[in-house]
Symmetry: C2
DNA sequence: ACAAAATGTTCGGCTAACCGTACAATAATT
DNA sequence: AATTATTGTACGGTTAGCCGAACATTTTGT
């Protein structure tokens, strides 16, 4: 009995997925060093995270090989990013925080909101953005 | 160079402070076993946390001794609890989540909101609770 | 194509937070 | 007061996430 569906994913791993997706939309190839810089962690931490994500079938990874998200990984990444954007809008437009504050809080809250809370927030913000 | 002011406190330790304070308001003496039950962690984890909190001068702790919050600890605890209540109200009254959902989300978000975000949320909720 | 630079991996090590077991101390019962 | 139950602690172990240094591989520059 391990994971029921590979659903369990930590805040940290969500950050990695998010970073990979964003780099992927900006450049052609995703490199570990870009992730390292974006997240402010060491290269060796990236390698470790990639291995874990590969085990969970969220990234396609092989030693020294090309890196990409799987379909499931992309879906998960998009999900986190959508949360982030919704939260950012809420903090910025509803609570009137400045951009930095809105970003920082979105980055932290995005990992802890339940699905229901997130949907409720979408409803709420939807009318005011 | 360690802590500048003992300010750094993890989510987990905040949970302990919160629990201690709440038990303290309901019973006369705070016992480790109550904390253990309230947080759903083992007794040995409580001992460990208490030692850490004592090092940070947030609880008065001695081996087998009476347990209490220091002034700083009480302030920190009240701060977390106020965050919790504000968030709970927001989730319940503004986002219309049921009580369980509101509690659970408040429990997780309370540890990650910046001071500014929290103040902005108070402003926002203040008018609608 | 070869040397130099950049990038990726492995390894050992660290910390925080948890656990269970065994033991110590305190509290309760009779 | 002595036994039993409860509670607290010490200890060793686990896991996730991070690090830097040393080494491996790939890429770049000429």
């Amino acid at each position: 009995m391990q994971e029921i569906k590979g659903k369990n994913i930590s805040s940290s791993l969500e950050d990695y997925l998010e970073a990979i997706y964003e780099i992927y939309t900006q450049k052609n190839g995703v490199k570990a060093i870009d992730i390292s810089k974006k997240l402010g962690v060491g290269r060796s931490s990236v390698t470790e995270a990639l291995k874990t994500l590969a085990q969970k079938h969220l990234v396609n990874y092989s030693r020294y090989g090309v890196l990409s998200l799987t379909a499931a990984g992309e879906e998960a990444a998009k999900n986190v990013i959508e949360r982030h954007k919704t939260l950012y809008n809420f903090f910025k437009n509803t609570l009137n925080l400045d951009e930095n504050e809105a970003q920082e809080n979105a980055c932290r809250v995005e990992h802890v909101l339940s699905e229901k809370a997130f949907q409720a927030l979408i409803n709420f913000v939807g009318n005011s953005s």
